[in-house]
């Protein structure tokens, strides 16, 4: 096991810049998830750590040793691919033992290693099958098995669950987490699915357009998003965002949202009077009721029951407001209700820069 240090790493294909200087330190045994929309550079970063892409500038160290110039085979890392990349002409056992055979490991040791891994992943009855004869979930497990037999310095996962159906994905997510708790291996996991990121990570690295947006624990990112991108990306249904203007002249800091509506803030924000700001509030924090003190009048446009709860779409002060509630039958379509934004749940961002204020 080893730590991974990434210092000002950049990637460019000719004039097209994919990564604009990434700095990141991953502790020994930590599970880090790189999350972001497709094309944000997260996979490229992972492939650079693996040695599958050249590093245009900057430095990557694994276990304190610079690896920029090393071939993938000399970096002692393992990777699980989105397509699983199982060797179709080898059996499950063959797939899992390939890396050890390449290293000319003794036969008995190989046998012990793969049977141990097979047991951990309950693959033992499948060892003589070929990948073609396996289900999607089984293939996924073989890909993991191939990674763990070798006891590498780090595990890299490139969207390993995105080819599975929703139920299996949920199940495998749990298995990966358990496996990590068992092995305690340094892991880097790339996904575009924010739920995977939230559930798996010790730390999340949110990326967009080749730039790291925020690094922190899952709840950090959820509760205190550093900017509009992270606020909008994490959480489903997504955070409500309303543009407005910051006012604090009369000693009552508030955000004016237009149509004469203004939302009071808990305290003065560290920004200038009249700044264009964006107010963010998560749907589950929006209060809905017949009569709420400090609430705004809103008309319900759409009711989406999810079974688990209800998503209400309402229009208030010329904007759409989404609210999520565990309660059922809170309102019907066409009802006029009150919505309210509890002051301690409000996020404020600078509209121009996108950065969090306060």
């Amino acid at each position: 096991m080893a730590s991974i240090d990434i210092t000002d790493v950049r990637k460019a294909y000719g004039a097209v810049k994919i990564l604009h200087g990434v700095d990141l330190t991953i502790q020994d045994g930590e599970f880090v998830v790189l999350v972001g929309p497709s094309g944000c550079g997260k996979s490229t970063l992972l492939r650079m750590i693996a040695g599958l892409e050249d590093i245009s500038a900057g430095e990557i160290k694994i276990g304190g040793k610079r690896v920029n110039e090393l071939d993938p085979k000399d970096r002692d890392i393992a990777m699980v691919f989105q397509s699983y990349a199982l060797y179709p002409h080898m059996t499950v056992a063959g797939n899992m033992s390939y890396s050890l055979r390449l290293r000319k490991t003794a036969k008995e040791k190989i046998a012990a290693a793969i049977s141990g891994a097979a047991e951990k992943l309950s693959l033992t009855p499948l060892m003589e099958r070929r990948p073609k004869a396996l289900s999607g979930g089984q293939r996924q497990r073989v890909a993991m098995g191939r990674a763990i037999v070798r006891k590498p310095k780090a595990f890299l996962f490139d969207e390993p669950l995105s080819n599975l159906d929703a139920r299996l994905r949920e199940h495998m997510r749990g298995e990966i987490k358990k496996l990590h708790q068992d092995l305690g291996a340094t892991s880097i996991y790339v996904t575009h699915d924010q739920i995977e990121a939230m559930t798996l990570a010790d730390r999340i690295v949110a990326m967009n357009a080749g730039v790291v947006q925020q690094v922190g624990s899952p709840l950090d990112l959820y509760d205190r998003p550093a900017n509009l991108f992270v606020a909008g990306f994490m959480g489903s249904p997504a955070m409500n965002m309303f543009e407005g203007t910051y006012r604090a002249t009369d000693g009552a800091p508030r955000i004016e949202l237009g149509q004469g509506i203004s939302v009071p803030l808990a305290g003065p924000a560290p920004t200038a009077e009249g700044t264009k700001v964006t107010l963010g509030i998560r749907p589950e924090h929006v209060l809905v009721g017949r009569e709420l003190p400090g609430g705004f009048e809103a008309r319900i446009d759409l009711v989406e029951p999810t079974g688990f709860g209800t998503i209400l779409h309402a229009s208030a002060f010329g904007s759409d407001v989404k609210a999520f509630s565990l309660e059922r039958g809170l309102a019907e379509r066409g009802d006029t209700v009150h919505v309210a934004f509890p002051v301690e749940r409000i996020h404020v961002f600078d509209t121009a820069t996108g950065a969090r204020i306060g």
Partner: protein, 277 residues
């Protein structure tokens, strides 16, 4: 409506049948002539099947003519060409499929060029170059020329097969600890075996059929290939049709075997052939 549909179906089947007959009739005639005894050849010229069949022509061709030699020569030339081309084009096709490098544009351009100009243009200079090297009138000279002629097309073909194999596989192998060449040998090549077999078949058929360069480069009986030998029948004073067609049937056998072998890959092969333009 149903009536119309029945008529359409019948017309469709009849048209298919007509095509099959058109495709097979000439080959059937070769077979017919090869088993017709000489005394019936002219008197039963237009009959679909002779009243008496014999295998004398085959017997003569196999036991008393030079055809077994021609057959052997053609086999040596075609198989060697096919094997060498398959190896070279696997390497080249892999490079074309997996690397993006500065010279690629020029290499592809060069290969396209070789497919555009008339090969007859090369007959004279190749003869002039090969004769001082002692490579005219020799099977090795012929193999050398055939390999060069077939490599560009085969490289495009192999490239299309490699393109069908996900890049992830060799990346996984490289992470597992293989060098690129080991990954190529142990992971990619075994998966391309069907493609290599198809390439082998295509090149074999092409080399087996080649006539003009064989005529030009080979003058002695010892190194003659099948087409050259068969054509020498025609230039003789009296053409023995029965023997000629018996030899033709023999020449057809390997070509047809390879055809059924590579049939599945015809489309991919011919589209790779179209790519070359």
């Amino acid at each position: 409506m149903t009536r119309k549909r029945i008529v359409a179906t019948v017309a469709h089947r009849v048209a298919i049948l007509a095509y099959v007959l058109f495709a097979l009739f000439p080959l059937f005639w070769v077979l017919k002539i090869s088993v017709t005894p000489n005394d019936l050849l002219y008197s039963e010229g237009v009959r679909l099947w002779p009243s008496r069949t014999v295998f004398d022509h085959f017997d003569f061709v196999i036991r008393h003519s030079d055809f077994p030699l021609f057959f052997r020569n053609s086999m040596i030339v075609s198989l060697s060409t096919a094997v060498i081309v398959t190896i070279l084009s696997s390497l080249g096709g892999y490079a074309m499929s997996r690397f993006s490098f500065r010279g690629k544009f020029w290499i592809v351009g060069l290969m396209l060029l070789t497919q555009m100009f008339p090969l007859v243009m090369l007959i004279a200079p190749i003869f002039k170059i090969l004769s001082p090297l002692g490579l005219t009138n020799s099977l090795s000279g012929l193999i050398l020329v055939y390999v060069a002629f077939n490599v560009p097309f085969a490289t495009f073909l192999m490239q299309s097969f490699f393109d069908g194999i996900p890049k992830d596989l060799e990346e996984a192998a490289m992470i597992d600890g293989a060098t690129r060449f080991t990954a190529f040998r142990q992971i990619i090549l075994p998966l391309t075996l069907p493609g290599m077999a198809a390439t082998l078949g295509f090149v074999f058929t092409a080399a087996w059929s080649e006539l003009l360069f064989a005529l030009m480069l080979i003058s002695g009986v010892d190194a003659s290939t099948f087409p050259v030998g068969l054509l020498s029948f025609v230039s003789k004073f009296s053409v023995d049709f029965g023997q000629m067609m018996a030899a033709g049937v023999l020449a057809l056998i390997p070509a047809c075997l390879f055809f059924f072998f590579i049939q599945r890959y015809l489309v991919q092969g011919l589209t790779a052939g179209a790519v070359k333009g």
